[in-house]
């Protein structure tokens, strides 16, 4: 009985980690679909979100809802700024240049945090005070519940936004064909900025949920989850929003089960192994479509 309980608990852990990956992966996939670039710095926006929450909650003592709102705004603005300053000028440059620049931005954010907050991990008490519940013999923590609910809501809202609003269809148009979208009167720059803003806002949410779960801040906290979320986005099919969600959840579960039943040290290796396998077997991922190059 307890074996099953254990398995279910691991699955739920996996769902929770996976939800965070999904939230982050959404940002990656949206930016890749619309701006056609991998925003290496995306993972570090999570870190910025976590530190922002810390500043607002622990240092300034603002009420929780205000902190959350401010954190989301800070990250969204940061996303827009980064795009305008570092990526927009390189829209027509070879993708190697953009990739290197994104790496530079990622490094920049990490080191600014390092200089301001120092390397020593800062403990942080979760501001989400939801009680845990017990179903059968299975213990589910409050933060897990909140994470799952928030993720589902975020995904539903995003899907509605993309499919049912004018701005959303503008985003879809730009991702199909930038030139044609511009000719149709769509403000491409504004659309891309909005994409980064939404992606960063989701990253902020991920950061808040992450930090309330792990309760410890460090400048590099975003790097590894960020890369893993990218693996999730690729797994699900980069450019596909349902794919990012699916990829995130699946990857979270794989990681959780690997950690529990194989080895903690190898769990990371397995996650990246998934990436390699996907790219070899079906590069377009579970739900994505490949675009062929014109010869």
């Amino acid at each position: 009985m307890s074996l099953i309980n254990n398995l279910v608990e691991q699955l739920i852990n996996g769902l929770r980690t996976g939800s965070i990956y999904a939230l982050i992966a959404l940002g990656y996939t949206m930016v890749y679909g619309i701006a056609k670039m991998i925003n290496f710095a995306h993972g570090d926006i999570i870190m910025v979100g976590a530190y922002a929450l810390y500043v607002f909650a622990a240092l300034l003592g603002l009420p929780a809802p205000v902190c959350i709102l401010l954190t989301i705004i800070v990250c969204a603005v940061l996303g827009i700024l980064v795009e305008r300053i570092a990526y927009k000028p390189l829209r027509n440059a070879p993708s190697l240049a953009v990739l290197i620049t994104a790496i530079g931005v990622s490094y920049f954010l990490q080191n600014v945090a390092l200089i301001i907050f120092k390397a020593t991990p800062i403990p942080f008490g979760s501001i989400i005070k939801v009680p845990s519940i017990k179903i059968g013999g299975i213990h589910i923590s409050g933060i897990t519940i909140v994470t799952l609910i928030v993720t589902v809501i975020a995904m539903a809202v995003l899907t509605w936004f993309i499919n049912k609003t004018k701005a959303g269809s503008a985003m879809r148009a730009v991702s199909e064909d930038k030139g044609a979208a511009a000719l149709m009167g769509i403000n491409v720059n504004k659309t891309i900025s909005m994409t980064f803003a939404i992606g960063s806002a989701l990253a902020a949410v991920a950061g808040i949920l992450f930090i309330c779960q792990y309760e410890s801040l460090s400048p590099t906290l975003g790097a590894l989850p960020g890369i893993k979320a990218f693996v999730a986005a690729v797994l699900g099919g980069i450019g596909s929003i349902p794919g990012a969600m699916l990829g995130g959840i699946v990857l979270g579960i794989i990681e959780s089960l690997s950690k529990a039943y194989i080895s903690t040290q190898l769990a990371d290796a397995i996650v990246f192994g998934v990436l390699v396998i996907v790219l070899l077997v079906k590069p377009s991922g579970l739900l994505g479509k490949m675009k062929a190059e014109k010869v």
């Binding site: 390189l90 440059a93 993708s95 790496i103 490094y107 200089i115 990218f230 990246f272 070899l280």
Partner: protein, 323 residues
């Protein structure tokens, strides 16, 4: 044509000898403090790493973020070999270098083969992934000492053995410079410039991508062996994503397809942190800003305008010649 080649060969030989002379004078003339002496070998190691990465990023045109991973494979393989042997240091190190280089090359091959269909962004991420996988696995394996590290490595490549290390640095530079000016090097550059056209003229992209990876991995592995025998202890954490980025910065700063540039950048970026010891945190920040600034400048309207002006001038003179 031949006269040009011979002249540059002579110049390069003179440069190499002068550099050697200067460093030897600095070491044995007692002109350097302890601190300064200790960066000589790291400079050499980083030159080897930068030049080998330059082959991939500058000449093959592919961004790889797992270079530190091959360095670590070489380091561990070499260190385990010398730890197991009981021979005179130079010989142990030589064997260790060969083992380290070859093992790293073999892994480059294993990793490279499946991965080489990918391009650009995907290749970069996968190499990053492999770097992390290598780190994880080394952490996990017992005989590598795991997280605690592999210690007790002989100090065979400290500044006292500069000559030995320098020879291998020169070898790295020689082989890769020569390769680039050969038919194989041209094939690699063709893959970078236009892989579809390359295939159309009979250049098999996967073959030359693999070739570049394996050669690059071999020299990274040897650099790793020197590293191991310089610091005396290896921990998986030394060879992470950050190290790969550090080397990338050197290659980018040196001007991507520019071997001499990579060498100079490697030396400066190894020596500078020691000079700027107190501003360690700011160093990384500076790296980040430099990376961004370089990319923005390279692709800026200003530079584009400069290049176009230059092209136009050249084109006009070509037209004039044709008339």
């Amino acid at each position: 044509m031949n006269k040009k080649i011979n002249k540059s060969v002579i110049i390069n030989v003179i440069l190499a000898l002068v550099a050697y002379g200067v460093v030897m004078a600095l070491i044995y003339g007692g002109l350097l403090g302890r601190q300064a002496m200790s960066i000589i070998i790291p400079c050499c190691i980083n030159v080897m790493l930068a030049v080998s990465l330059c082959l991939l990023v500058g000449f093959l045109g592919e961004l790889t973020l797992g270079h530190a991973g091959f360095m670590s494979i070489g380091a561990y393989a070499g260190a385990l070999t010398t730890n197991a042997l009981d021979l005179p240091p130079q010989i142990e190190l030589l064997i260790g270098l060969l083992v380290g280089g070859i093992v790293a090359a073999v892994f480059s091959l294993i990793i490279g083969l499946p991965v080489l269909r990918l391009k650009g962004d995907y290749l970069a991420i996968v190499t990053l992934g492999f770097g992390e996988i290598i780190k994880s696995v080394i952490n996990f394996l017992g005989f590598t000492g795991g997280a605690k590290g592999l210690s007790g490595i002989g100090a065979y490549s400290n500044y006292k053995n500069f000559t030995f290390v320098y020879i291998f640095v020169l070898l790295t530079i020689l082989v890769i410079s020569n390769l680039v000016k050969s038919r194989h090097g041209r094939a690699i550059c063709a893959v970078r410039d236009n892989y579809i056209a390359a295939e159309a003229v009979g250049i098999k992209v996967s073959k030359f991508k693999t070739m570049a990876f394996v050669i690059s991995g071999f020299f990274a592995g040897m650099a790793g062996v020197f590293y191991a025998h310089n610091v005396g202890i290896l921990k998986p954490g030394n060879f992470d994503y950050n190290k790969s980025i550090e080397i990338l910065v050197m290659v980018v700063l040196g001007g991507m397809g520019n071997i001499k540039g990579a060498i100079i950048a490697a030396v400066i970026l190894t020596a500078l942190p020691e000079v700027l010891r107190s501003a360690a945190d700011f160093r990384m920040l500076l790296y980040a800003i430099v990376l961004i600034a370089m990319m923005l400048f390279n692709n800026s309207k200003f530079r584009m305008a400069m290049i176009e002006k230059r092209n136009l001038k050249k084109a006009m003179s070509i037209q004039k010649e044709g008339e």
